[in-house]
Amino acid sequence: MQIEGTGALITGASRGLGRAVAEQLAARGARVVLVAREAGPLADVVAGIRARGGEAHAVAGDIADKNAIHRIAGQAQGLVGEIGLVVHNASTLGPTPLRLLLDTECEDLAAVLEANLVGPFRLTKVLAGAMALRGAGTIIHISSDAAVEPYPRWGAYGISKAAQDHLSRILAAELDGTGVRVLAVDPGEMDTKMHADAVPDADRAALQRPADVAARLVALVESNVASGARVALPGWQP
């Protein structure tokens, strides 16, 4: 899809991969809406994008809050018009240090599912209809290898990402023929706060930089990869 002029909504955009994706989409001429819970860090990222001549807007909201979903979608479309690209990037690990699944409180698992699975589902429900009427749009779910591999201690997160992968496939099947494309993307291991929270003693030099991953993600958005695909970015060639 064409990026220039497209309304793009990115969740979890105040740092890490979400921030890098928002910055690169804006640099390519997208009209970017950045969503995150905290207004402060978001404002700094938005100011940075604008200083470089890009169009960016801040929407403070918690994707895990049912009542925030229509506010987020409404503010975004009030600011930039129709949304042609959604990157569901916000997610939570649940309590850290990571615990064994059987030591995880039920409420903590439910909260992780609310943020990583139900929240993106709700937001897609609000935004996909307008995309389908226009016959175009791309919805991206940021996944993880934890969706596929049963890593001990990554239970709540891994379950949410596995379910999100399947959410992506079912949405793609139901939207077949409408022109709306749904992709799941495993970005690989990155040097982010989330990674540091999960693996505090990791060798950061061995991790990918979010900006490099974001560049590949933008290339994926521009590619013709078919709806329903799950793409592992580290091995993907445009």
Binding site: A58, H70, G74, Q75, L79, E174, G177
Partner: protein, 357 residues
Amino acid sequence: MAAVKFHRHASPQRVPSELARGAAGSTIALRTDEVARHAVRLIAIGRDADTVELTQFAALPSLLREGDLVIVNDAATLPGSLRGVSAGGELFELRLSGPVDGSRLAGVLLGAGDHKTRTEHRAAPPVLAANDRVRIAGLDATVASAAGRRVELVVRAEPDTLWQALYAHGRAVQYAHRPELLPLYAVQTAYAARPWAAEMPSAGRPLTWDVLLGLRRRGIAIAQLTHAAGLSSTGDDALDHALPWPERYEIPRRTLDAIEHTRAIGGRVVAVGTTVVRALESAAQSGSASGIARLRLDPAYRPHVVDGLISGLHTPGESHFELLQAFAPRDRLVRAIELAAAHGLSGHELGDACLIL
């Protein structure tokens, strides 16, 4: 024939359906409860054929033909009821009457209180004049213009802050017949996009994904336009008499092409809601694909673009019922409402529906 007021919705505050009189002088009362989107029933009314039939809204794809075109209004419903306070400390409510234009908010003032009081019984709002300072949705604003209860405010905040405040503080516009507070998602269609509508373009509410994809499977095209559906009532007789006010609309090239193609292959254009009729017919008159719709539908109007209409149910005497006569003769519409009443259909704006085709 005298022109009737063009109300998008029933105005239960003004013309209670219990009091509406049918052509035969009989009282026709519809239920007034909300109906779940998936359970909406449909009265199919022939436009030329003298037929009136009860079915499910979900059967819509089978009532249309391959090559027909369904056009929806994709305006999302604004959180257009905002709390304000004048420089003198008087509380008021501002109801947005149209889209937010940059930092400008245009709307109607009501006095202190909320939607549980009928609009015509609300306290008088403070009298505002140009250059007055007010607070609205927690932000500072200046009155740009004021004509009685119609005002335009300029908010002193950048757009991100303004939109955050609107959605944090605003609520959907509601009326006294529905006292419980509606969440914003209850008044959005499945395909809502830009927040332009002061009230929900509710004829599209029963268009679930199941129906939309069912239409597509049968070769029935769906296209969209955006029309800034305004307020259906202000509680002020002089203002209400002039409704609907001029409303902004935008019809994309893709939709104009779809209409042309539909005409060429002998298909029919079905408007979902009278806001779609107003946009399409205004565009046909003005020759402009986007602009301000000024057309007022009335029983004598004969549509040039639209062949069929999907609408909510309205009883004789309601303004909306009267304008449906642009599409079908009055006696047939009365029979349709009698059938609806006999089967317990709802005339609520979140209720059952009719198709005139």
